[in-house]
């Protein structure tokens, strides 16, 4: 995916953000963090909250890792990254618990699972540990927003097809495809959307489509 490296010179902040949303989209292009993409996308509301939490954690982790990149010894960098990630996830977790009790009951488990997201750890390892604070900040925003965008698209289709509703509001008074709500349907939706974005990439931008490493 060497989009950043391929750009001549230092990319500006906007380029980093846009690349994070589209060319390096965690779900549709890199195929990582697929578990949450399937677990929380049964409704727009849950997808939205999860997306916001990920944007926040991703950005803060990137900034922290970037700030500390010269202090962290390479041999123990992974445990340190995990500590940093868990710290910020705790912040997000407690914030959600304090301000939205109902949403926390529904989402709490998944918010805590952000600790294990491949998309956040990869950015800490591949970007923030090698770049200065400002680009790392924008990279976090970009990747987080890309993740957010992907969750919204997937949960839009799953909620519409599975519950016949959007944002909890019943709009077609029927449940056209019950399977869309099940994990199977999540895989179907993610795979088909990934194919769709690959098709756009190949058809209009002359790309090769995503390979993807796969991961949690």
């Amino acid at each position: 995916m060497g989009a950043i490296e391929a750009t001549a010179g230092r990319p500006n902040s906007l380029q980093i953000v846009i690349s994070g949303i589209f060319r390096e989209n965690a779900i549709f292009r890199m195929a990582i963090s697929l578990c949450p993409a399937i677990a929380v996308t049964t409704g727009l509301k849950t997808g939205f909250l999860m997306g916001i939490a990920v944007v926040f954690v991703n950005t803060m982790v990137n900034v922290t890792v970037s700030l500390m990149r010269k202090v962290i010894h390479p041999r123990i960098r992974m445990p340190i990254y995990m500590l940093i990630i868990s710290g910020w996830v705790t912040v997000a977790d407690l914030t959600l618990a304090a301000f939205s009790r109902d949403a926390y009951k529904q989402m709490g488990l998944y918010i805590q699972l952000i600790v294990a997201f491949a998309s956040i750890l990869t950015r800490a390892e591949n970007f923030a540990s090698k770049n200065k604070v400002i680009p790392s900040f924008f990279d976090g925003i970009g990747i987080g927003t890309g993740f957010f965008f992907a969750l919204m698209v997937i949960s839009f289709f799953r909620e519409l097809l599975g519950k016949g509703a959007l944002w909890g509001v019943d709009i077609i008074h029927a449940k056209p495809l019950l399977i869309a709500l099940l994990p199977t349907g999540g895989f179907f939706a993610t795979g088909l959307l990934m194919g769709f974005f690959n098709w756009i990439d190949i058809r209009f931008y002359g790309g090769k489509g995503a390979g993807g490493a796969g991961g949690h």
Binding site: L177, L178, I179, L182, T184, F188
Partner: protein, 354 residues
């Protein structure tokens, strides 16, 4: 000097030409990649023959469930042909609907539908079966799962009520009168053997009804006699071997006899289990799909036994009354593993290393 260099050039070129000749020349030794034995059998011939062999079951389905059965099956076939054309055109492949594989998938899917389904269900499940399960995995020969079964599994999970509403067979050809009944397996599971016998009369009568096919069920699975006629046809032309069907049926029969009864071990009803549900259709037509079953005979027996065990587990212990479909699909994903563990020993190879 000039001549010499020409000669040298010729000498250089010669081996190349020889090499080419060896592959294409039929005079000498022909070197080519496998398969070496060629027969008159083609994919399309097999597919169309299997489709023809299903006609008794289809006719019985129409006889029991009326003209709507024709419509449902036709929609399944139409849906799978359209999906095949659509995906092959999108992928820029050669359009190969004439090979009959999509037709057969549609036909099998149709025979696996309850006759009362709304008309969008056949079309959509055919799309899932052919477009997603078969074509997106690379087309005929590359699919992991049986397309028709996958289409049906999709339909059963998505529209559970529509897919488990079983019409009472009518013999009048005037159409259905809207009455529904539970399948024999559903009755056996929910209300027990006594209730099943109450509905069908005594045991002999029950067996007769099950053999002929006068019972609630998918439109092509009910008539065991018709299915056996088709299967005999396939055996006669050696399109299927005994390994999978017989091991599958035996496992279910023995298992049902041993563990199916409430009164302890060996008090079950093997014949009811054999004759009801989609077992015969599944064992002879679904599990024997060339693409998704193991190629080695020993592996096929293991495949059949596995299907049988899973079918019984689902029938006796799980939430669904019928488990043939899920059993075959689960064994489909184990097929590569089975094929690998029963791989033929290469001549001259030592030890167990592969």
């Amino acid at each position: 000097m000039q001549e010499e260099s020409n000669k040298a050039q010729k000498l250089k070129e010669q081996p190349k030409e020889q090499g080419k000749g060896q592959v294409f020349n039929t005079q000498g030794l022909v070197v080519s990649v496998s398969p070496h034995i060629r027969s008159e059998e083609t994919v399309s011939k097999i597919m169309w023959t299997v489709s023809v062999s299903l006609s008794p079951a289809f006719v019985m389905g129409v006889y029991f469930f009326g003209p709507r059965a024709i419509l449902v099956t036709a929609l399944c076939i139409l849906g799978s042909l359209l999906s095949e054309v659509l995906i092959q055109r999108l992928a820029g492949k050669e359009i190969a609907i004439k090979d009959g594989s999509a037709f057969l998938t549609g036909l099998l899917l149709g025979l696996n539908m309850p006759v009362t389904v709304p008309f969008y269900i056949p079309l959509l499940s055919a799309f899932i079966g052919v477009a997603i399960t078969k074509q997106l995995f690379g087309g005929l020969g590359y699919n992991i799962f049986n397309p028709a079964l996958m289409g049906r599994a999709f339909a059963l999970i998505t529209w559970p009520r529509a897919m488990t509403t079983w019409a009472v067979p009518t013999l009048s050809f005037a159409g259905l009168d809207g009455k529904t009944m539970a399948t024999p397996l559903g009755l056996l599971k929910e209300e027990g053997l006594a209730r099943l016998l109450e509905v069908f009369g005594d045991k002999a009568h029950l067996y007769k009804q099950l053999l002929v096919g006068y019972r609630g069920g998918s439109l092509g699975e009910t008539s065991i006699v018709a299915l056996l006629i088709g299967a005999a046809f396939l055996f006669y032309f050696r399109y299927i071997s005994w390994h999978i069907p017989i091991s599958f049926l035996t496992t279910v029969a023995v298992g049902a006899w041993a563990f199916g009864g409430k009164a302890g071990v060996f008090s079950g009803e093997p014949i009811i289990h054999l004759l009801s549900g989609g077992l015969v259709l599944g064992a002879f037509y679904m599990a024997t799909d060339y693409v998704t079953c193991p190629a080695v005979k020993k592996g096929q027996i293991l495949f059949g036994v596995g299907c049988g065990v899973l079918t019984l587990l689902i029938r006796l212990k799980a939430g669904y009354p019928e488990g043939v479909m899920f059993a075959i699909l689960i064994m489909n994903c184990l097929t590569p593993l089975i094929d690998r563990s029963f791989r033929a020993k290469v001549f001259g190879a030592k030890g167990k290393k592969t």
